[in-house]
Amino acid sequence: MKSVPNRILLLLSLLGFASALTIVFYPLFKKPIHTSVASSMRLKIPRIGIDAAVESVGTSPDGAMDVPQNLDDVAWFNLGPRPGAVGSAVIDGHSGWSHGIPAVFDNLYTIQKGDTILVQDQNGITTTFVVRDVKTYDPKANASAVFTSSDGKTHLNLITCTGPWSAIQKTHVSRLVVFSDMEK
């Protein structure tokens, strides 16, 4: 340290502070990815503070349900029934953090049986669902119980990722599925 000239010390110090400031403030200037799209349908889970716009998705090329474009939004699987129609409507959302901000379903794991899920449609009509069960699935598991039902009742199922991150598979090792039934 004694052999380093004073000017170099000052320069390194200033560069260090500049780097720290860049790390802190860079996300504020980067194009935001948490911006929500305009949508007339909303999903609300009051107890855990979720209130999100609902996008509409089908399947990705690999046959998986597609995911919302924005981290603040959730997405409805438009090849199945709409929320409130007979059958199993499915909505997914991201979990994890981006630039210090949690994604919409990052705390979905805290949901409990008996919690209320609300879906407000484009006409402002709200349908209420009550959580019946919470399960974890392997990503490649048979998901027919998530996307279909044959009891003639109205269900809403929520999906997000859970478990450790697999650097090899580029995904979390499990999927969290919340099963709910329309309130009678």
Binding site: M1, S19, F147
Partner: protein, 324 residues
């Protein structure tokens, strides 16, 4: 007097079928409830309202407003596609009551068919091939009956044009172009358009009818409104309900399409309960919704870099004092 009455009755009995055979309203079956029936539905801007079912396999980025009992490719989407084809076949089999001169035709300014801008019930056909357009002056559909426009080409309407009903019903108006349909901004349109080549609505189009493009693409731009007309007696099984399971017994209308505004009255027969099967919902694999953990935050990096910088700064200040 008796003879006169008998002759008039005979004339009436002959005249009625002759009028009815000019143009008849085809059955739309399961497609009757769809405001949009397509393979791809594109809608990227808020403000569009569809009051009726919306069918597609590739859906829009933005959900349209309005009320839809069926949305997407669930039942009766596939059946509606077949029924659309049947309705188009019915239309194509109906003889033309008037054929325009070969080439493109502006329905608003044409005088060869009758009064300029005014159309009475019938089957109107272009030839040549010939596209059809609805000019700024618009057209009036005048009188009770069925209107069919068979167009051997594209159908377009210019901005601010209007199709106006004068005694006609939106349930009895049909358009069957062989190429794409484009409706101009701020225009008003009426009737069922069967066009698998594609249907595009520019901004702020008001349409009482149906955009049936099963196998093709329907595009709405912004602030468009499609409202399916109320043709309640066209419902095949009044009293029945449900998309899967068993339909309770009800009444089935037979005979000519009861949505048609004239012609013989439909007959009503009692039917037994019937079972229908639900179209299975496709099962996708579970989505990958997780974010990689390294994007969580960089708090530790900031602390380490700031600490090292502070250490360097303190060393610099201490050295400066020693020198002075």
């Amino acid at each position: 007097m008796v003879i006169v009455t008998m002759v008039m009755t005979m004339l009436a009995s002959f005249a009625s079928p002759l009028i009815a055979s000019a143009a008849t309203t085809p059955s739309l079956g399961s497609a009757a409830t769809y405001g949009i029936l397509s393979s791809t539905y594109t809608n990227t801007t808020a403000g569009t309202t569809i009051n009726g079912d919306v069918g597609f396999t590739t859906g829009p980025a933005l959900l349209p407003g309005g009320t839809h009992n069926n949305y997407g490719s669930g039942s009766p989407y596939a059946t509606a596609g077949s029924d659309q084809a049947n309705a188009l076949s019915n239309i194509n089999n109906q003889a033309c009551t008037f054929t325009f001169a070969p080439g493109a035709i502006d329905l608003a300014t044409d005088t060869t068919h009758g009064t300029i801008g005014v159309y009475t019930p019938g089957v109107y056909c272009t030839s040549g091939p010939g596209a059809a357009s609805i000019g700024t002056a618009g057209i009036i559909l005048s009188g009770i009956g069925t209107y069919i426009f068979k167009i051997d080409g594209a159908l377009t309407s210019v901005a601010n044009s209007a199709v106006t009903l004068q005694g006609a019903s939106a349930c009895d108006v049909f358009w069957a172009p062989t190429q794409a349909t484009t409706l101009g901004a701020d225009s008003t349109f009426v009737g069922t358009n069967i066009d698998a080549s594609g249907i595009t609505l520019e901004s702020n189009v008001g349409w009482k009818g149906q955009a049936l493009a099963f196998g093709g693409t329907v595009t709405t731009v912004v602030d468009d409104t499609i409202t399916v007309p109320s043709c309640t007696s066209q419902t095949p099984i009044p009293g029945g309900s449900g998309t899967a399971g068993t339909i309770s017994g009800g009444c089935l209308w037979t005979g000519p399409n009861p949505c048609s505004s004239y012609g013989p009255q439909p007959q009503k027969i009692q039917i037994a309960p019937v079972a229908i099967a639900a179209v299975p919902v496709p099962v996708a694999t579970l989505p990958n919704t997780g974010l990689p953990p390294d994007t969580k935050n960089n708090t530790s990096s900031v602390i380490i870099i700031s600490s090292l910088s502070a250490l360097l700064l303190i060393t610099y200040i201490v050295r400066g004092r020693k020198i002075s």
